[in-house]
């Protein structure tokens, strides 16, 4: 009965069916949230199984749409890890959503939870896709299903943000990503993800591969490589649970995950290294890292600051892929995991502060740490992880990326990574300092925030610490993806 194929199909159907139940139970809020939580837990269990069996690379054909065109799932370690991050954090985030949405009396909650389910289903689709066509399809569904979430408030500001969101994401995907997919199909006769790189195996010239690499790097707008990043700060008009799970984890990570997967399985590290455009793209990623951090310092709005921080952190992954050395790519994969846990902590903290005090600007948040010590503690742990301090998970990707940059002969990129860490300190820690040490403006809080908005960031902050010590198993799990290619490249 139970088989790998069934499990692959379930990864897509659990959240989708969950969405149907959420819609049906729309007028019974407690049962509705129960449906979300049950689907989240079931999905996480299912994905845990998928992580277990990923090295055997099972495949599942979803549909034969025309001769030579298939929608397929193919499990491999990278996708399994991304699915695990997204589904695991979905549980925590669902708890948080309940607290946040009820605590702030948001409207249209049923639509919110339904779209959330569809978004998670499409993130699973991106994670498990077996070829570019499937990946593109779920990538687009992810853009469309998150649009109602971004514009949830429905006011002018939300509409404006939603317009920029959809214009950039759809524009880049149709304008660059889609032609790159079709060109790949034309050059290689298929769009399957193949170990060693589909284009490399088809002996595509480095020049043409270089053009395609540019089209992928900018066409996958969800990776927010500058100058394709403005959709991300504009998506912050969404309710905070959306920013937390989708715009720190599922959507943006779907973007950089796509770049990593395309780099690993469509180009292959050798071809990326040979392509003339990889070095300029690495520079653009490095500039994105530094520039976005500088912009983040200028933002007083906490969510806007976190958004620019995300733009900066996403480019770590793009940088790792463009450096194309095994350790750099491993660092890129680790960054997907570690940054997700750190950044969701920060966003959930921002939302919790808003729920308790309705404050959005950092300058107004003085002294709040005394009233919400656990929350500010969680925030500080998340921030330190993003900065890259041991013993927190975020330190590993930086280490691997620096080593990878050295291996790739691009030692100069280490400077960008160090500069980014220093800038991270400058824009993330002031809030902790203000919260704990500055005198409070007001005598006390209006109300204590519900436990459901405090507990989730504490859980993820604890996760960040645990992840630091889990590096061994994670590294062993991911290494086979990158290492055999390295030996092939060296020959």
């Amino acid at each position: 009965m139970w088989s790998a194929e069934l499990s692959l199909a379930l990864a897509l159907t659990i959240p989708a069916v969950g969405g149907v139940f959420v819609a049906l139970l729309g007028n019974k809020p407690n049962l509705r949230e129960g449906a979300t939580l049950v689907s989240a837990v079931l999905l996480a269990i299912n994905v845990a199984y998928l992580v277990e069996i990923a090295p055997s690379e099972p495949t599942l054909v979803l549909a034969n749409i025309a001769p030579g065109l298939q929608l397929t799932f193919k499990l491999e370690p990278l996708g399994a890890i991304f699915a695990a991050v997204a589904s695991g954090l979905w549980i925590v985030n669902s708890l948080y959503s309940i607290g946040y949405m009820r605590g702030n009396n948001e409207k249209n909650q049923t639509r919110f939870y339904v779209c959330f389910c569809i978004a998670i289903a499409s993130a699973m689709g991106v994670a498990l896709s077996g070829n570019l066509l499937t990946m593109f399809l779920f990538y687009e569904v992810l853009s469309l299903s998150t649009y109602p979430l971004v514009t949830h408030k429905g006011d002018e500001n939300a509409k404006r943000g939603g317009k920029i969101y959809l214009t950039i994401l759809m524009g880049t995907s149709i304008g660059l990503f889609l032609p790159a997919v079709i060109a790949t199909h034309f050059l290689a006769g298929s769009t399957d993800f193949v170990a060693g790189g589909l284009l490399a195996l088809n002996d595509v010239q480095p020049m043409i591969a270089g053009i395609l690499l540019i089209m992928f790097a900018f066409g996958i707008g969800k990776a927010a490589l500058m100058p394709m990043h403005p959709w991300l700060p504009n998506a912050m008009v969404a309710p905070t649970p959306v920013s937390a799970l989708l715009h720190a984890v599922a959507v943006v990570k779907a973007g950089v995950f796509s770049i990593l997967k395309v780099g690993t399985y469509i180009f292959g590290p050798t071809l990326i290294a040979a392509a003339p455009s990889s070095e300029p793209l690495a520079w653009i990623a490095a500039i994105s890292i530094v520039l976005a951090s500088v912009v983040a310092i200028t933002k007083d709005n906490l969510k806007a600051r976190l958004a620019f921080s995300t733009v900066s952190q996403l480019s770590y992954v793009t940088l790792g892929v463009m450096l194309a050395s095994p350790l750099a790519m491993l660092g890129a994969a680790l960054q997907i995991i570690m940054h997700a846990w750190g950044k969701i902590t920060l966003f959930m903290s921002a939302g919790a502060i808003y729920t308790a005090t309705k404050k959005t600007e950092i300058s107004q948040m003085r002294g709040l740490g005394k009233y919400m010590p656990w929350l500010f503690g969680a925030y500080t742990v998340g921030a330190l992880s993003i900065i890259g301090l041991p013993p927190l998970g975020g330190s590993w990707p930086k280490l691997f990326l620096m080593q990878g940059a050295w291996d790739a002969g691009q030692a100069i990129m280490i400077v960008a990574l160090v500069a980014s860490s220093i800038l991270n300190v400058a824009y993330l820690l002031p809030l902790s300092a203000r919260g704990f040490f500055a005198p409070a403006d007001e005598a006390k809080l209006k109300k204590q925030p519900p436990a459901l908005v405090i507990l989730p960031p504490v859980i993820t902050a604890a996760g960040v610490i645990v992840l630091f010590f889990l590096i061994g198993p994670i590294r062993d799990y991911l290494e086979p993806v990158f290492m055999p290619l390295a030996s092939a490249g060296a020959l």
Binding site: A66, L69, G162, I174, G175, L178
Partner: protein
């Protein structure tokens, strides 16, 4: 489709090509005699069902047995009139038949709302004549017959467009403009046919093709080519001969717009392919030149110019009309590639475009039925007040952009692949840019539908309304087809490839 063929006695199946034209022509006379609109509609409905059935029978016969040559009145071609059906026109015939039937179902509430009761029976009569004309153009193997049927369909089309005057008097000038231009186009076409007759002494298209192959070309046949391309190009709304189309679509009754958008230009485009490939030959130097320098060039210009014009329209149907001109450009580009892959991608888009525009115009018709929607700002809040129709509109709109999960994506995939095979990078760029412009104009309508709140009347929000089932069912079928044929793209791709191979021989 063999089971359809088996339903008929073999004698009758043999006559299916003739019945496809004869039934609507006779029914048109019957409909004109009907005392009221409802009876007129019943006649139209029965006729359209029979036409859809027989057109599918013809398609089934062609796909299983190959070319059908039906001799009208038993006279041998090239002296008698021949109905000649290969995979190319069988596909177009089935498309017109099936979409025509869906449109007629939609007609009952829509026409009932927009046309005066006393004129409805006559309206259906004129519609059936137009349908017969379009089917006639598609099925006949005789060049002069093409002209006759083209005029039959055009003249009745002028009438039914002008019937929109009940709602907006500008329908009269729109129809008049179309009449003048349409007549010029028909004249050009018949002059071209005359030249061909002069040069070859034959009117049978296959026969002309053979004679031209044997005796070669001269100035007369070159002039004929130019006249025919302009004449049919005008009917197909080939840029820059499309100027009649936006107003005609914008002011005609909604039913007429839905019907014309998914059939009329498609039939003219088919006739163009037929003349290019079967009468003239794509290997002839001046025909080959025209592929790149006329059809591909004009197609790309249409994709750019008409798409950008669409972005700035305020009238919803005019917007979609400009989009149609751009979409004809996609088909022209596919044709202009001069390869079997390009032509089949063009034909695939012809089928897909009929499906998506049919659904879009029907949804606009549904909106017009309850809320009198004409302008884009009238679309505000329809996602809340008419969710089912708005959903169908959204699916078809996304299909127009080419979002995956819809047939629009399949069209683009095959067009871009064909362009890459031809090495035409600029065509790929044009396809992409035009898709982005489609995104812009579709997003304008969708954001009005879903993001704006419905206008308030005397402080009260309008109640949610459901379109009648006679609208929901055909619209739902077309919207569903937009999704279904993404997952079963092989069906339509197979038909398009068979159609293209019928005239190119597969290379």
């Amino acid at each position: 489709m063999d089971f359809l063929v088996n339903l008929l006695p073999s004698g009758l199946a043999h006559h299916a090509p003739a019945l496809v034209i004869v039934i609507p022509l006779v029914a048109a006379a019957v409909a004109a005699l009907m005392p009221n609109g409802r009876l007129g509609w019943i006649v139209a409905m029965v006729t359209a069902s029979l036409v859809a059935f027989f057109s599918l029978v013809v398609l089934g016969l062609v796909l299983s047995d190959g070319l059908i040559s039906y001799h009208m009145g038993g006279w041998e071609p090239p002296y008698g009139i021949e109905l000649r059906v290969d995979a190319l026109n069988a596909v177009v015939l089935a498309l017109v038949g099936v979409v025509g039937l869906l449109c007629v179902i939609f007609a009952l509430p829509s026409v009932g709302d927009e046309i005066e009761e006393g004129k409805q029976a006559l309206f259906y009569s004129a519609f059936l004549v137009a349908l017969a004309g379009l089917l006639g153009v598609t099925i006949t193997g005789d060049a002069f017959n093409v002209f006759v049927f083209l005029e039959i369909s055009s003249i009745s089309t002028y009438t039914i467009i002008a019937m929109g005057a009940g709602k907006d008097r500008r329908a009269l000038t729109a129809s008049y403009n179309y009449l003048i231009l349409g007549t010029i186009g028909a004249t050009f076409f018949v002059i071209g046919v005359g030249f061909l007759y002069m040069a070859t002494g034959s009117l049978n298209m296959a026969d002309i093709g053979q004679i031209l192959q044997e005796q070669g070309h001269n100035r007369v046949t070159q002039a004929a080519f130019a006249f025919i391309v302009v004449g049919l190009g005008l009917k197909a709304a080939m840029f820059p001969l499309h100027v009649w189309l936006p107003n005609a679509y914008a002011f005609a009754p909604n039913f007429v717009t839905a019907f014309l958008a998914s059939t009329a230009t498609k039939v003219a485009f088919y006739a163009l392919i037929r003349f290019l490939f079967s009468v003239f030959h794509p290997d002839v130097a001046f025909v080959e030149l025209s592929f790149t320098w006329v059809f591909a060039a004009v197609g790309v210009i249409a994709m750019m110019v008409a798409s950008s014009q669409a972005i700035f329209q305020t009238d919803a149907r005019r917007l979609l009309a400009y989009s149609s001109v751009a979409q004809v450009g996609y088909m022209m580009l596919g044709l202009g590639m001069g390869t079997a892959a390009g032509l089949s991608a063009g034909i695939l888009h012809l089928i897909n475009h009929a499906i998506m525009k049919g659904a879009l115009f029907m949804a606009l018709g549904a909106f017009a039925l309850h809320f009198g929607v004409r302008q884009i700002r009238d679309l505000n809040g329809l996602g809340r007040t008419m969710p089912a129709s708005a959903g169908a509109f959204t699916i078809a709109g996304l299909s127009l952009v080419g979002v995956p999960l819809t047939i629009g994506f399949t069209s683009k995939w095959y067009l871009i692949t064909a362009a890459l095979e031809r090495g035409w990078w600029w065509a790929v760029a044009a396809l992409i840019i035009s898709s982005l412009m489609a995104l812009a104009y579709v997003a304008r309508m969708l954001s009005a539908i879903w993001m704006e709140s419905p206008p308030e009347h005397h402080g009260a929000k309008p109640a949610a309304r459901h379109a009648p089932y006679m609208v929901l069912v055909p619209m739902g079928i077309l919207a569903f087809a937009n999704l279904y044929f993404f997952f079963h793209a092989d069906v339509l791709v197979g038909l398009a490839e068979a159609a293209a191979n019928a005239v190119t021989g597969g290379h």
